[in-house]
Symmetry: C2
């Protein structure tokens, strides 16, 4: 499948938008939760902690959908469907600090729990739906 | 299954929040799109037009998840997982006007397309996840 680029929606990834991340539960039913979101020009990146439901769902089943609604105009939105192509701890601790800078204006992620291990999921976009 | 009540989150349903509605595509992958949302004290109600992807997905597969993020505090959110228990045209035209009043402050839904037939889906809540 040819690579799907998201450049024209770069502004949505630059804003402090809480994306809706839809994953699949073990029984195949959908789950959707708000997440901090990043785009590196190729992959959508989600950062979570090991052992959470998101980690379990994304590790078991790569198919996801991500929704970004423009905070300045809710009738403008982007949905990206795609697949997890990589799960890694590498760079995940630095990346959550980058997300804290974006979403909180803080240099260091302030919500770390004792023993928490961060993990990054890289999602390859396959299809987009958008409005506005 | 005993009925799951959402009263304590009534304020989220009163605000102009665009909910993230996660449904399943024919291949079982998740879809998520922003929707106007209503709660009648028993069911979550989604109003769409016949023939849209949402209509097709909700008619084929009753399992859904709905996410509401508080517009005043994005770290407060509610996720409701549940099942579609009814699909009906009855009252759907009136209901979309009620939604237009809530979301647009207008008495009549202004975006109707020629030949469009509105349809209501009633979702029975089964499980909630929330933060804040």
């Amino acid at each position: 499948m040819s690579e799907v680029k998201l450049e024209k929606w770069n502004d949505l990834f630059e804003k402090r938008i809480f994306a809706g991340l839809a994953t699949l539960m073990p029984d195949g039913s959908p789950q959707v939760t708000p997440v901090w979101i990043d785009y590196d020009g190729k992959h959508i990146i989600v950062n979570t902690a090991e052992g959470r439901q998101k980690d379990k769902n994304l590790t078991r089943e790569p198919r996801v959908s991500v929704m970004l609604v423009d905070t300045e105009n809710p009738y403008r939105y982007l949905e990206v469907r795609g697949k997890v192509v990589e799960r890694t701890n590498e760079g995940a601790a630095d990346h959550i600090n980058k997300m804290a800078k974006k979403y909180l204006g803080q240099d260091v992620y302030p919500f770390s729990q004792p023993g928490e291990v961060r993990v990054i999921f890289k999602i390859a976009p396959e299809k987009t739906n958008s409005l506005g």
